[in-house]
C-alpha cells in the first residue's frame, strides 16, 4: 500500500525538509519524534 501523503505540522528537524521531498520523508522516518496537530484529524467538532 503506498504511503499516504500526510504531512505533520512540524518536523523535529525542519532543515531536512527543505531538500527533496523524498529525502524529507526518509529523514522523517528516521526521526524519533513526530509532531501532529491536535486539530489535524477529522471527526471532531
Amino acid at each position: 500500500m503506498t504511503e499516504p501523503n500526510g504531512v505533520p505540522t512540524q518536523l523535529a528537524d525542519p532543515a531536512a525538509a527543505e531538500n527533496d521531498p523524498a529525502d524529507a520523508a526518509m529523514v522523517e522516518e528516521d526521526l524519533l519524534v513526530e509532531e501532529v496537530s491536535i486539530d489535524g484529524m477529522c471527526g471532531v467538532y
Partner: protein, 394 residues
C-alpha cells in the same frame, strides 16, 4: 511507521472526542449536524457525566470537545467543565455564545486547560442569520467581545463553509483577528438537518477550488479539523493534517443519552457502536465494539483505490457518502474529479436518521420557527424551551 499508519488501526483510547452534552438548544440552525432543539428526557445525569469523565481520565483521553445542542443550557455545564479540567481532561466547548456573559468569560480566561469555540456561519448578520436564525450573529459577536475583553486569547471562531459564505473567507479572518481569536473553518456535511439543505448549501465545485487555493495561500494559521482532505487532489500541496478519517480510530462521539457513534457527523444506527451505560462503559465500547473493530481493519479503497488521487483524498468522508446515499467504498459526493457527482445521479434515496430532536417538524415557512419559541402549552417536559426563565443580561 508514520503515526498516521498507526492511527488507521485505532488507538487504545481516543486522542480526543466530541461529547454532545444535550440535544437542547436555543437555536435551530438549518444545517444542524445533530438535529438538535429539544432536550431528550434520557440525557445522562450529572452523576453519570462525572463517571464518564472519570473514564476519560483513566483512559487518558487528552481532551474532549463538548457540544450539543447548546451545551451551556445545561445547568450543570460549568460544574462539569471544572470537574473535567480538575481530572486531567482538557476541554474545548462549542457554543453559540448565548451564556458567555462577561463574568463567565472572565472565569474561563482564568481557567487552565479550557478552550472555547464560537460558532458563526456568516461574516455578516445577513449571511449568518439566514442559517442560524435572527439575532444569532449578534449573540456570537457579543460573546467574542466578552472573551476578548476578559483577556481570553486564541479562542476559536468556527465556521462551516457554505455556498453563501465562501466569498467571506477574508472577512472571517478579519473578525478572528479583531477579537484575538483563531479562525477555524470546517466542511459542511449532509448530516442531521444538513441533509435537507445540502443541495442548496454545499459549495460548488468552483468554490471548492477557491477554498482550497485560499487555504494554501492564506490558511497557515487557520485550523480546519482536517475536514478538507477530500480537496487535496486539487493541487500538489497537501493541506496540513493527517488527511485521515479518524472515526472510530482516533476520535468518536458520545451523545447526550450516552450513545457512542463513530463521529459526530454520523449519528445514525449504522454508525452506533454502543452506549456508555452498557456494562463495559465507554472503555468497553471503544475497545470492543464490532463497528469500531470493522473501521480499524485496513481497507483497500474500494472503487477509489485505483484512482490516481486516492493517496491524497483517501476516498473522502464516510458520513458525506452515507447521507447522500452513496456506497462507502466509492467516491465522496464532492469528489474533486467529479466521480461523486456522477455516482449521485444513480442514487434513488438517501438514509435519514431516526435520531431527531428538532423542535418543529411540521411544514411551516422557513421564515418562522427560529429562536426561542413563543410560550405554548407543552405536552411533555422536554418540549419546554431550554431557556424558560432565562433572562439575558443587557
Amino acid at each position: 511507521m508514520k503515526l498516521v499508519e498507526h492511527f488507521k488501526h485505532g488507538l487504545t483510547a481516543p486522542i480526543c472526542l466530541t461529547w454532545e452534552l444535550t440535544y437542547a438548544c436555543n437555536l435551530a440552525c438549518v444545517h444542524c449536524l445533530s438535529s438538535s432543539g429539544r432536550r431528550d428526557p434520557r440525557e445522562l445525569s450529572t452523576v453519570e457525566c462525572r463517571a464518564l469523565i472519570d473514564e476519560f481520565q483513566r483512559m487518558q483521553v487528552f481532551y474532549v470537545n463538548i457540544g450539543g445542542g447548546e451545551p451551556t443550557v445545561r445547568a450543570d455545564f460549568w460544574e462539569l467543565l471544572d470537574y473535567a479540567v480538575d481530572h486531567q481532561v482538557g476541554v474545548k466547548f462549542s457554543t453559540n455564545g448565548i451564556r458567555l456573559t462577561p463574568p463567565r468569560a472572565r472565569r474561563l480566561a482564568a481557567t487552565d486547560y479550557v478552550d472555547v469555540q464560537i460558532s458563526l456561519d456568516g461574516a455578516t448578520a445577513e449571511v449568518n442569520d439566514a442559517v442560524r436564525g435572527p439575532g444569532s450573529y449578534d449573540t456570537a459577536v457579543r460573546a467574542m467581545g466578552n472573551l476578548a475583553d476578559a483577556g481570553f486569547a486564541d479562542f476559536k471562531l468556527s465556521v462551516v463553509m457554505t455556498r453563501q459564505n465562501v466569498g467571506q473567507l477574508d472577512a472571517f479572518a478579519a473578525i478572528a483577528q479583531r477579537y484575538g481569536a483563531q479562525l477555524r473553518i470546517t466542511r459542511l456535511r449532509p448530516s442531521g438537518r444538513g441533509a435537507e439543505v445540502w443541495d442548496e448549501l454545499h459549495p460548488t465545485a468552483a468554490q471548492q477550488l477557491q477554498l482550497y487555493d485560499w487555504l494554501v495561500a492564506r490558511g497557515e494559521k487557520v485550523l480546519t479539523g482536517d475536514s478538507f482532505f477530500h480537496l487535496n487532489a486539487l493541487g500538489s500541496a497537501p493541506l496540513p493534517g493527517l488527511n485521515l478519517c479518524g472515526a472510530g480510530r482516533v476520535v468518536c462521539l458520545v451523545d447526550p443519552v450516552g450513545d457512542v457513534y463513530a463521529c459526530p457527523f454520523a449519528i445514525h444506527r449504522e454508525f452506533l457502536a454502543g452506549n456508555v451505560r452498557d456494562p463495559g462503559g465507554f472503555a468497553g465500547v471503544w475497545g470492543t465494539s464490532e463497528l469500531f473493530e470493522r473501521l480499524r481493519r485496513p481497507s483497500d479503497g474500494g472503487t477509489c483505490g485505483s484512482c490516481s488521487a486516492y493517496d491524497s483524498c483517501q476516498g473522502g468522508c464516510m458520513a458525506a457518502k452515507f447521507f447522500t446515499g452513496l456506497p462507502l467504498d466509492g467516491p465522496d459526493p464532492e469528489c474533486v474529479k467529479g466521480h461523486g457527482e456522477r455516482a449521485l445521479a444513480g442514487v434513488s434515496a438517501a438514509p435519514r436518521s431516526d435520531v431527531d430532536h428538532s423542535r418543529r417538524r411540521t411544514a411551516v415557512p422557513l421564515s418562522i420557527g427560529f429562536g426561542v419559541p413563543a410560550p405554548a402549552p407543552a405536552d411533555r417536559a422536554c418540549d419546554i424551551s431550554p431557556l424558560a426563565g432565562f433572562q439575558p443580561t443587557p
